[in-house]
Amino acid sequence: MTHSDTHVSHVDHAALGEVKEHPTWSTYWKVAVILTIITALEVWVYYIPSFVASHLFVPTLLILSALKFAIVVLFYMHLRYDHRLFRALFTGPLIIAMATIVSLLFLFGHLVIHAG
């Protein structure tokens, strides 16, 4: 655990809680491009009727949006570079939140367990 006394001289730096190096704007651009591509991909598959009808449609969209979600959180919200405490503060609740959504969908019969 980092203690305050070692950090008093770098209050600014410490205040941001940086642990690893901060991303630069070239990272930001790349991230933006990737996000745009994924979004375009999502909308594109939405317009392919045969794909929409297939079993892959929903999982693909879920994976793509999860990817976007993760990228924004890791890079724009610099969780990847920040103090691990923040990671815990975010992922813990996120996991509980997602588990809650999934359980509710089961309970309301939107997801069905196929035995066997």
Binding site: M1, L85, P93, T100, S103, F106, L107
Partner: protein, 617 residues
Amino acid sequence: MATTAAAPPYVSTHEASNTGIWSWLTTVDHKRIGALYLVTALTFFMIGGFEAEIIRAQLMHPNGTLVSADTYNQLFTMHGTTMIFLAVMPLSAAFFNFLIPLQIGARDVAFPRLNAFSYWVYLFGGLFINASWLIGAAPNGGWFGYAPLTTMQFNPGLNIDFWVIGLQILGVSSLAAAFNFITTIINMRAPGMQLMRMPMFTWMAFIVQFLLILAFPVITIALVFLQFDRFFGTQFYELAAGADPLLWQHLFWIFGHPEVYILILPAFGLVSEVLPTFSGKPLFGYPVMVYSGMLIAFLGFGVWAHHMFAVGMGPIADSVFGVTTLLIGIPTGVKIFNWIFTMWGGNVRFTVACKFAIALLALFTIGGISGVMHASPPADLQQTDSYFIVAHFHYVLFGGSMMGIFAGIYYYFPKITGRFLSEKLGNWHFWLTFIGMNLTFFPMHFSGLAGMPRRIYRYDAGQGFDVYNLISSYGAYLLGFATLLFVWNFIRSWRKGAKAGHNPWNAPSLEWSLPSPPPDYNFAAIPTVTSRYPLWDHKGNVVDYHDGDQVKSAKELGIPMPLSTIKPLFTALFMTLMFAGLLFIHKHNWPMAYTFMFGGAAGMVISLYSWLLSPLE
């Protein structure tokens, strides 16, 4: 006999500027806010208890006629709502406020003004809900307000409006406080106060804050739906639109079950402070106590549907929720045994505080066991919505939460006020409460198994319920009498109690190194902590204050103190007014509705900005 040469002298804590009504309205001192919470919550406890007394008087004999059906329904709804949201949660908050900074060696919480805001929101929210009594339209849908009974279609009065809006207001208070305490505990610990050196109360408080920030948003949304349905004509619980009433139930209990651990974990924390002190032994299995607390909280998010075994969820869901519920017995049992083994091998001093703590062990276990009986879905079908459930939750809530809180009050009163509560009156209080509590709630197991449904304002003679209800009512009167003794003790001792030194119980944690009551800045010098029990181990530079030492003011010591401010109070007041404006929508009084809502919102934003833009110190 200070342990370091640099022992700072202290001065009397009550300076001229620290007295008078105005100083209370503007205070940002966590200890004074804690005291406000304590007194307010005890008042609400009395109100909730008074409602319970009327309930018991009505049910004393078959076909009671003291109150009408409608009044009765308002009474039990308000009793449950008051006890849970206005008494036990804020009583816990009183201890969070008072203790957390002291226990971790901090001068205050992370956001002192936000802290004041939380209190005022709580007070106004509580007054708001109770104002419904004045117009004879108190909430009447039960404390979990099941839709569709709470929708406009079936409940067109103002009753539920008060409830929905009131809970919404109280939610703001709890959430604001929770963010504050999370930050405080993470960030304001004194050097060396590692997480695994924190006193157990602070640990349990820490866990509870996470339960709060994760559980309250869910009820907020459930209430938003209901609020929108009632005021703006949405369809969330509208049967004709195909709504599913189970939506409310799920959302409510996703909040509701973590809520019961919000109610009990602080009491567990208090007991974990009291028992080691009076056994003269450290807490047995400290790490396990921490982990079991975490596990209880975590599992607490996966069991909510055990309140819904009768709704027909199907065998898979029933099995899953039944089994996860059973699992919670394991970490809770670990706690019980660790407490017992804290006393094992010790020199147990039976002070009143210690007796209440022991009573928690004895009585919570009973409530826990009946909880496990509910956790078996087929068996629960015969228990749910009967007095057996009422017995369960009063054993865990009164036998658990309230006993723990009483233990905490007797234990910390000297620290809060500088004076002891009378042990003699306290002993009377304890024994009458202990007997009264069992007399009231134990027979409810029997009336439940004998087939008595809950929430009935009357029952017929000859159903096998009479005797149990008679005993319950006598027990409740006894409890009421015991509580009056306590109140008398509390009021008298605050002014006239025997003076307590800084560490009257010979306790191990940091708060006991300070004068009683502690000065506004808490620690003259921030201590460095090197052990879990600094005052027992005499390690680190913890300054062990002794009576008779000179005490200096913050100014003399050059400690910057936050400025008192009225702004949080105004922000809270305007927010409450803004919410209250909704009531006029119900009456189609648009001018008033708009005045209140927009006026309140504007006032809130202005006072918020002026608060945020003014310096803290």
